[in-house]
């Protein structure tokens, strides 16, 4: 029997979408939510049932203190905000020059600058370098490492974008005798907003959730980040089976980003695609 286009779009399609969403995304997220509200014994073998006894507050406050969430939140922000600001400022300054000046030298510099998009960071020797610079286990070292890692991405996005902006928009300011830095800040930077939005969202996501590079650079030091502390909470799971705390931590850690996203989803999604796909 053939389903008519009309029944398809009015009944079958919405039903398929709802079931698919509920099964594919709903079940894993539900598992995390219900387990985060169970007692330790009940969470021992995680399942999809509702908690028999609710331990919501106990678990969340315990995850908060045992996982040292405030300190980790501070560490995450301390590392992320300056890295993102620095990489965007330095990256777009350089991109402007790379996009506007022609010649072999610029072409070579540009290729070198964007090679980091593909090449993986040399994570082990970074630690050696930071030790020699007395920056090992420090937030400054972490910031510089992130800036080095994501500079290529910023230069790639911004240079491509600057090339689509006609030079004429800069000329009026130049006639008025504005200096290069003045032209960059007053004329060019405001036009870069869409591509800077894209880069900001992507790099924030990467840094906020990074655990690999943070292990090597911050590991063993005083400073920590949210993912690093999630790992230590979950590692103690091996011998004491605290799924309830692991998921309480997961929910607490993910909730802020999810709320920000749901509120600003249109701008975030158009921000991500605006600079990435032309």
């Amino acid at each position: 029997m053939r389903i008519s286009t009309r029944t398809w779009s009015r009944l079958v399609h919405p039903a398929v979408v709802i079931i698919l969403t509920a099964v594919v995304i709903g079940i894993p997220l539900w598992l995390a939510l219900v387990t985060s509200a169970k007692s330790q014994g009940e969470a021992n073998l995680p399942d999809l049932s509702l908690p028999r006894v609710w331990h919501l507050w106990d678990n969340y406050s315990q995850a908060f203190t045992q996982g040292r969430m405030l300190w980790a939140l501070f560490g995450s922000l301390l590392v992320m905000v300056p890295s993102v600001a620095g990489v965007l400022i330095f990256g777009s300054l350089a991109s402007w020059v790379l996009a506007r000046r022609a010649g072999r030298v610029m072409a070579v510099l540009y290729s070198a600058a964007i090679s980091g998009i593909i090449l993986p960071p040399a994570v082990v020797t970074i630690v050696l370098l930071l030790r020699q610079l007395h920056l090992a286990s420090t937030p400054i070292g972490m910031m510089l490492v992130y800036m080095g890692m994501y500079m290529s991405l910023v230069i790639f996005f911004v240079t491509g974008f600057v090339r689509t902006i006609p030079v004429e928009v800069e000329e009026a300011a130049r006639m008025d005798g504005a200096r290069p830095l003045g032209i960059f800040i007053k004329v060019v930077l405001p036009l870069l907003r869409p591509v800077i939005a894209t880069a900001t969202i992507l790099i924030c996501l990467y840094i906020w959730n990074d655990v690999f590079y943070a292990f090597f650079v911050l590991g063993g030091g005083t400073y920590s980040t949210l993912p690093l502390n999630l790992y230590s909470v979950a590692s103690s799971n091996l011998y004491q089976n605290n799924w309830n705390l692991v998921f309480a931590y997961v929910v607490l850690m993910s909730l802020p980003l999810v709320v920000v996203f749901v509120v600003a989803q249109r701008r975030i999604i158009s921000g991500i695609t605006g600079g990435a796909v032309k």
Binding site: H13, V17, P28, L48, A94, L98, G116, I117, L119, L205
Partner: protein
């Protein structure tokens, strides 16, 4: 007009914190740098021989490539499927798009732990399958030396498919309506329209998704750490997991050797793959 000095800060950061460690990679991979003594001596190819003879180099390389290819296929495939399913701007579709994007925002560790719990042999997924089939199901999703790499690649694709979907949706939006209208008037079937018109026109989005999935999973770490930790029997131990484990044991030079192997693998494979995809874009 465009002063050289504007290039200095960016290139200084790149030179010191990206290129210099990369150069160090080529030096320290051939030394005895470790946690057990303070001095560092050149040892030639001893580290390379060590990781070759205990089999970890070749097995990690193989697993990394298998994992990256599986992720690229699944992530791009799921993303495209979702984009086509949720293309029309209805209320339900908009809601579903938001929900499918939530895993992108979550930390990969959090996603990994969720699936570790979900996929236990006596866990919820097997429970659901058991209820559906009426039998007792105990599939070792994360305990098979052969298939667990597929499961882990699936978990990573599950996390990132929302991003692929968003990029495909943006690509689909750029297709001019009159082209699709012309195809419809010519009597082209849905499949034919997709195959001959829509798919070629979203080729840039395919390139972007495949390339980012490949590159991202050559560097794969957190999802695997949180689901299997590299097991069972090191059958999901990709290069970065190996580097992390060996570094933790204090064998810094061996970790550097593997880091160099990763660099060479990516340089050897990524450039041709991206070149191929770009050429296909032009041909289509």
């Amino acid at each position: 007009m465009y002063p050289n000095s504007f290039l200095v800060p960016a290139f200084a950061v790149l030179a010191v914190f990206f290129f210099l460690p990369t150069v160090f990679n080529f030096v320290y991979a051939f030394t005895d740098w470790s946690a057990f003594h303070d001095d560092i001596h050149p040892v030639g190819l001893a580290n390379v021989k060590a990781v070759l003879s205990n089999g970890s180099l070749l097995s990690s390389l193989r697993i990394t490539i298998v994992y990256a290819v599986l992720v690229a296929i699944m992530q791009t495939g799921f993303g495209l499927g979702l984009a086509l399913l949720l293309e029309r701007d209805t209320r339900i579709n908009r809601f579903a798009r938001v929900v499918f994007f939530i895993p992108v925002l979550m930390s990969a560790l959090a996603v990994g732990y969720t699936f570790q719990a979900l996929l236990k042999p006596d866990g919820p997924l097997n429970g659901l399958l058991g209820a559906l089939t009426g039998q007792h199901v105990t599939i070792p999703w994360l305990g098979s030396t052969t298939w667990t790499v597929v499961t882990v690649a699936f978990v990573n694709s599950w996390k990132w498919m929302g991003l692929a979907m968003v990029i495909f949706l943006a690509g689909l939006k750029t297709i001019p309506a009159d082209v699709l209208e012309a195809a419809r008037i010519d009597g082209a079937s849905r499949w034919r329209t997709f195959r001959s018109i829509r798919f070629p026109l979203i080729a840039p989005a395919v390139t972007f998704n495949v390339a980012t999935a490949l590159l991202g999973s050559f560097n794969g770490f957190d999802t695997i750490l949180a689901t299997t930790g590299g097991g069972p029997a090191q059958q999901t131990e990709v290069l970065n997991i190996y580097i992390f484990r060996v570094y933790g044991n204090g064998l810094f030079a061996q970790a550097t050797t593997m880091s160099l192997a990763l660099l060479l693998l990516v340089a050897l494979l990524a450039f041709p793959v991206i070149g191929y995809l770009r050429k296909r874009e032009r041909v289509l």
